[in-house]
């Protein structure tokens, strides 16, 4: 064999040998996940649940995503939109995270979306339902694993009509999430033939409901539909019952009404019908396995819908990163992998809509003895209309 050919062959085989280690090196660097979540303040509990869920999914994937070790970088966003851009810049510019994950407060998420769009960073939203994030402001690099505010509210109208309620009052706080939920509910309820007598709003986060409950009592609608969460939800449900309205005018709500606060609401929540994309009591093996694993992994904490959303964020990332073998440099391939993933979630399998929001079943749940019992599926494979999204 000629010397030159031999050398060339050797070089070629050396290159062939060298190639896999090169790829392995790309995979070898740690994958940096930037968590921007509330760890202090009113939503601290939600931030912790999301992080626990995410970490469980990563642990179940063997502590690696797409073959790469995972490193978490955390920032407490304090649910303060005024500090949001600064916080997200820290993760993107200083910590150079590969994927940005957050957050709970929708004002904070709007700031994250802004930065993600400008810097073309991958963003996965594990909670906040701000419609614009997967609507008018949708982008190839922005995904959501939770819900849009429209989504769980829309089927509620049909549910109420089916139960014979033709007129309704809607009540919420005066803030973006409440108004978007109102729009979803209104659309569903009117489409099913119902009539909204009145929409009532309280200044956020005012919890003095008595004046508006008096108004509901004098309006005498067939039923009331509402959007509240957290401590406000506890107080609203208790006040509604204490005013004697519970047995006279049935109360319905977007599922956050009874999410994570059912024990605090006690008997006053008994029998409440709500719609949401998850229920603790979902009777499928996937959910049971998840719940057992979560409880074991997080110090006997019970998982809730927020934990599921965090968990699904992990599942989604694991699947997409496996597909691209941990290589995030080819953005188109990464986006395609995220878009085509079918997430085997405790809430039931779901995949992304064209606007990158889950197409998912919305369940009808009844609160019974401290548990949200699944009554049925209120809407099968519901997709957010994503108005204004040009993807």
């Amino acid at each position: 064999m000629h010397d030159d050919t031999r050398r060339r062959l050797m070089l070629a085989s050396a290159a062939a040998l060298a190639l896999p280690p090169l790829v392995a090196r790309a995979q070898g660097t740690k994958l940096r996940l930037g968590l921007m979540l509330p760890y202090t303040g009113t939503y601290a509990q939600l931030g912790v649940a999301i992080e626990n869920g995410l970490k469980l999914a990563v642990a179940q994937a063997g502590g690696k995503l797409g073959g790469r070790e995972v490193e978490f970088v955390r920032v407490d966003d304090e649910s303060d939109p005024a500090k949001a851009t600064d916080n997200v810049n820290r993760l993107v510019t200083r910590d150079k995270v590969d994927v940005l994950i957050g957050s709970v407060h929708s004002g904070v998420v709007m700031a994250m979306v802004k930065v993600a769009r400008e810097t073309d960073t991958l963003l996965i939203i594990p909670n906040a339902g701000a419609g614009a994030a997967t609507g008018a402001l949708c982008a190839p690099n922005i995904f959501r694993t939770s819900f849009s505010n429209w989504q769980p509210a829309y089927p509620l109208g049909k549910v109420m009509i089916e139960r014979g309620h033709r007129t309704a009052v809607f009540i919420s706080w005066k803030y973006a999430a409440g108004e978007e939920a109102a729009a979803g509910f209104k659309e569903g309820f009117t489409a099913a033939g119902g009539k909204i007598v009145k929409e009532l709003y309280l200044p956020f986060p005012n919890v003095e409901f008595q004046a508006l409950l008096t108004q509901i009592a004098s309006l005498k609608p067939d039923a009331v539909s509402c959007f509240f969460s957290g401590a406000g939800a506890v107080k609203f449900v208790k006040d509604y019952a204490a005013a004697g309205l519970k047995d006279k005018i049935p109360l319905y709500g977007v599922g956050f009404l009874t999410e994570g606060v059912l024990h605090a609401q006690g008997d006053d929540a008994e029998g409440l019908l709500t719609t949401l994309h998850y229920a603790d009591s979902l009777d499928n093996p996937r959910n049971k396995a998840f719940r057992a694993a979560y409880t074991k992994a997080s110090n006997n904490m019970e998982p809730d819908v927020f934990a599921v959303q965090g968990y699904d964020t992990g599942l989604l990332l694991a699947q997409a990163l496996d597909k691209v073998k941990g290589d995030l440099s080819n953005r188109a391939a990464v986006v395609a992998a995220l878009e085509n993933a079918v997430v085997d979630s405790p809430r039931g399998p779901w995949k992304m809509s064209r606007a990158h929001n889950p197409i998912q079943d919305i369940y009808l749940r009844r609160a019974e003895k401290g548990v949200n019992k699944v009554v049925g599926v209120a809407w099968k494979a519901l997709e957010d209309p994503a108005r204004g999204c040009k993807l």
């Binding site: 202090t40 401590a231 107080k235 006040d239 204490a242 609401q265």
Partner: protein, 304 residues
């Protein structure tokens, strides 16, 4: 301009709501009236002790199985906390500008919130209404009124009377007022001013916690609940006139009215909806109007 009027029976019930809310506000602000109004100490962390009270009510009621006992123990504990705070921090600031009190108590808000998170976690909790107060009184065919709310109103009225009596008519009250208006003279009369200040501050903290405990069954118990009430408490004291218990009561009732009717009346000016859209502004508009009209508040003494 367009108003939407209310039918009379609804109006009457809304009036009841307004009074009831106003009285609750007075209860929450009562400790601040004492500490801010009479001692002249701005305690931004007043709301934090309202929150601590609610958490104490919840955890002690679980422990003792009885809200009454929980309240007694809780009040004793918060008196101790208040005394400790006065001894450690507040007494170093009496002679300084209000600015430093604002700053110190702002820091206390952050500290108390984190300690609450460490001790009790970040969950929302409910405190059950005691059985003997759990009933409701029917008002219309659809609406009834919870007895516990009426009971709170009763407690508030009793507290207002007791405070006015103690401060205006008793020896202790005279000592407090003397100490507040002229420290040197009080001292020369043989009053241990330091001790009086310690007691008054501790009582103020205990009142905040007491309000939290009484309100816990209707408000529920949650992180950050103090921050929601603190500003409104200052509004109560300032509208009423600093140092006036009567003023605080009147102001609280006024705010109750404005808040309640701001949410239910409909008002349009030149086609732009003003109420209830901007109901969140109503209380602050009231405060601004009162202070521009009478800078010292409704019942405050005119500045020299």
């Amino acid at each position: 301009m367009r108003w939407l009027a209310l039918p009379f029976d609804t109006f009457a019930i809304q009036l009841l709501n307004a009074v009831q809310y106003g009285l609750l506000l007075f209860l929450v602000a009562s400790g601040l009236t004492l500490v801010f109004g009479i001692m002249g100490v701005i305690n931004l962390a007043h709301g934090s002790f309202y929150m601590i009270g609610a958490y104490l009510a919840w955890s002690l009621a679980e422990h003792f199985g009885n809200l009454g006992i929980a309240i007694v123990v809780g009040v004793a504990l918060s008196l101790l906390i208040g005394a400790a705070l006065e001894w450690l921090f507040i007494r170093r600031l009496y002679d300084r500008d209000h600015l430093y009190q604002v700053l110190l108590t702002y820091g206390l808000i952050l500290i108390v919130e984190e300690l609450r998170s460490i001790v009790w976690g970040d969950d929302v909790h409910a405190v059950p209404v005691p059985d003997w107060l759990a009933a409701s009184i029917p008002l219309t065919d659809t609406l009834s009124y919870p007895v516990y709310r009426l009971w709170i109103s009763g407690v508030c009225i009793a507290l207002a009377i007791a405070m006015a009596f103690v401060i205006q008519r008793t020896r202790i009250g005279m000592t407090i007022r003397a100490g507040a208006s002229n420290r040197e003279m009080a001292q020369s009369l043989g009053i241990d001013i330091r001790f009086v200040q310690l007691v008054v501050f501790a009582v103020g903290i205990a009142l905040a916690a007491f309000a939290g405990m009484i309100a816990a069954p209707v408000s529920s118990v949650f992180p950050g609940m103090g921050n929601q009430v603190i500003i409104i408490c200052f509004v109560v004291v300032v509208i009423g006139g600093i140092g006036s218990v009567k003023g605080a009561l009147v102001a609280a009732l006024l705010i109750g009215l404005v808040d309640t009717f701001g949410k239910v009346l409909e008002l349009e000016v030149a086609g732009i909806p003003v109420l209830p859209e901007l109901a969140g502004m109503s209380v602050y508009v009231l405060m601004a109007i009162v202070l521009l009209w009478r800078p010292e508040g409704l019942f405050g003494k005119r500045a020299p």
